[in-house]
Symmetry: D2
Subunit: 295 residues, 4 copies
């Protein structure tokens, strides 16, 4: 392995752990963050200045305006032959725009979907990247440092945007898998005959068709709180699930299970369901059915 | 029209109004109810005794055990040539059993699905009936009295069970139609640009593809409570929706919209969603995502 | 009623019938269409020239680029105080852009969602409009001519965009209502006991909770082809259903029934389902289950 | 370990492999099958006769009538203190009936859901069992032989029926997980930017949130047939998915993702969709939309 230099912008929970893993692999990381306590340099200009060319700069900031702003600034600071990696959760439709903006100045662009969460520091991060082979090659030592041991965990998925698109679909699948275990858990908990649901989940960790890392996490969660009594049934969503459904609609692909999972999260965040008020109102109108008043 | 006699068992909200409508048509109704304030006779035996043969007895009591118990008792009281109508909300799978039990004693059986709710007294009741033409013919004057004016509102749907099956499917369709309006209403209410959702609904009552009686009821409901603030988003289900989905499963027919409507009602009755606790727990495990605690 | 002049651009199936209905009400319509056989004038410039100010011009061309192009041209031809109505199926997100473009030149803008299909000429068109009251007032005589008799059929739904948004939601509801009847019909057809499904549908036209105009159309369709044997189970979608789901996602509103209806259409257009190939492949992998080969 | 004797009824694909795994663990298996080529004995009576008491007999035949028939025959052949295990795919609602029938003669009953498919012989079978601890204890050495190495893979889930119920829910979850991967795969295949979908799936096998045994199988399947061109999009279902949804309905538990997965299989088996014919017919009625004729 040849040790290389990396500029890393954004040192939050994900970025900070990634810096650590890359350093453990023997590379040099110069990190920038708006929070000076975390940063190695005090500005993007200083970061670019400290890197020897051809530079590789990895952007790890929130999708949308923050990422756009960093890329705009880098476009003015970097030189032809440098390469920018967007490792954040950008929507794939932003990638081509960013690639063109940078290409106009001779700067390469790679989009990288990163999975791994808080476990990535030790287990490695799965990486799905999009872009030209030439640009990806320049970042490959860093990808190799971040990815898990073994064959899997890294893919050059296709042209610019393919990395974030693949990561987005990964998250869509994740939504439906989580929903699958959740539905099964609720059903088991709802019947009297199954007296130890947690042990049923634990038993599934070997020999079954549904064994998975998410199942292992479910068992961890149940070990901490057997009936999840300390949680509310409230689930946020982080954008990728929505974009997955929108991409499916654009391509006329039916996604019933993934979409059901997204909608279940939306519903979980409503204190009271407006649509079910209307259903109650209609039942009341035609049948004189008892309804629950809000008081 | 030839005036006829009818024995009517069960004089609740539906049965009481039906008695009134049948009497207005000139027929004689002898009614029995466990509540003596409503009843014309004090027992089924007295009811059977007062009717001239061949008798027609209409059972209008809750599905399941209550209906079974009345049919068992009638089987012992009635005579060959008499006819029993089950106008309650029995599951269609009960009908054949009831028909056989009565046929063993020479008694006819007709299953009748009845729609109309509190509006039936004035507008008439829609009737979907199953059974042999010979038995239905004996009840036809009563069906004619109950049904709305005009061509529609009555059908001999098929053999025993077909009446309740058709009514069950009617209710399944009703679930999805109510859900359709409810989803549309919530979406309109959720955006700022549409400032008068009630008037949008009212406008739809003419000229649109979605005009319907349920839409008229929705407008009534919004006139009483523009944003349905006096209701909770809580909807019961009465059995037919569940049976519709079960019948679909038995016949390998996909029913995505009707089933979604049923599940939305189930979810509306949960104070907190167990399955969404599991989703929250999993998010917490892999990502350190913020979750809402129950406290 | 004061007779007024209207410029109408787009004289296809919808536009042509609308011209006829407006003329029957006593107004003057000057129509333009790219097809000279239908047009009263040979160019937009000529159309604008022939109208007395302040002018009202109704655009009735396909959404997207065609509408944009007409509005761009009108912006250059019309004068301050004139008003443009977009009566096509534009996405509501286009309306504000169009309104601003025209407002910069002192021209008013109204978006109008129009429902009614081929029945509108005789029955009237339902109209949902968005924009400033001042602009709407200038078009009101035309709206009055187009709408059905009676109270309903017209609404000023809110600011610019609210008309198309309301029409879009109308279509989303329509998708789910059609799916509701379709699911019920398939279930009835799938069981042996119900021997006359068409007559069951016909009977529902009076007294039931599910009576509607769409039900009337279903009966018409079954009268033409009792088991719909002359059709394929293939349904296009026209954009509004997709936009409805996208708007719901933007607002975190769960739309399970409407979305299920959209996805059913997507699936209906696939010769073979890629996702079900994957399900078959997985079953084969773990269970040695029999799968159907493509040959 | 103490070697024990087991009577095993049903030596098909599953039963045959299980016999082999139990024998490898050092136990004696006396097998019966209707196919004499596979059987060690020629009748159930001979099987019972050859076993020393207290006997343990494992039934591994199709659910429903075949299982009922074997249990009826065993009830007449076995003696008090013997134990019957139903390891087939019986519906959990049958278990209590079987337990009572056998308990009346002093015979114990254990229901065992078995997962593992063709991989079980080498990897071990996951076992979810229901019944009294006393009866389970008698079978434990066999369970230990069948289950995978390590902690997981076996659970005493609760009273009689809890084993099959847990296995049924396992299969419901499996349906939704398979659907999740399948939806994601179709979406990736539908867009041009992702040029190597198989490698994306392969990369997900390490470091991702969605890594699982089913994902490994998906990669195997894609290695055999990269675009699954040799398969049809046709998926059977084996009963447990249906029962899962029915159990959910009985308990008013919403299962949107699992049910969507079941319905997708139903739809995959239809040459043409009746419900989409109705949707097409309705579109045609109100809009004169083009429809595809069946010819």
């Amino acid at each position: 392995m040849t040790a290389m230099q990396l500029g890393l912008i954004g040192l939050g929970k994900m970025g900070g752990n990634m810096r650590e893993r890359i350093r453990r692999a023997g590379h040099t990381v110069i990190g920038y963050d708006r929070n000076p306590d975390r940063a190695d340099v005090s500005s993007l200009a200083e970061l670019v200045d400290k890197l020897e060319g051809p530079r590789v700069v990895w952007v790890m900031v929130p999708a949308g305006a923050p990422t756009q702003s960093v890329i705009d600034e880098l476009a003015g600071l970097l030189e032809p032959g440098d390469t920018v990696v967007d490792g954040g959760n950008s929507r794939w439709t932003d990638d081509e725009k960013h690639a063109e903006e940078l290409a106009a100045r001779g700067i390469g662009f790679v989009d990288a979907g990163v999975s791994g969460g808080v476990w990535g520091l030790e287990n490695g991060y799965a990486l799905m990247v999009g872009g030209d082979a030439e640009h990806i090659a320049k970042v490959q030592p860093i990808f190799d440092a971040l990815k898990p041991e073994g064959e899997a965990g890294f893919v050059h998925a296709g042209k610019v945007g393919a990395g974030h698109f693949s990561k987005m679909v990964h998250n869509g699948i994740e939504y439906a898998m989580m929903q699958a275990y959740a539905e099964g858990w609720e059903l088991l908990e709802s019947v009297g005959s199954v007296t130890d649901v947690r042990e049923v989940f634990r038993s599934w960790q070997a020999g079954t068709v549904i064994r998975s890392w998410l199942l292992d996490l479910a068992v961890n969660a149940l070990d901490e709180d057997e009936h999840l009594e300390r949680l509310r049934g409230y689930a946020d969503d982080s954008g990728e699930g929505r974009w997955t459904v929108e991409a499916a609609i654009d391509n006329a692909v039916p996604l019933p299970a993934i979409t059901a999972s997204l909608f279940a999260r939306f519903a979980s965040r409503q204190d009271d369901s407006p649509q079910m008020k209307m259903v109650a109102a209609l039942r009341n109108q035609f049948g004189g059915h008892a309804v629950e008043s809000a008081e």
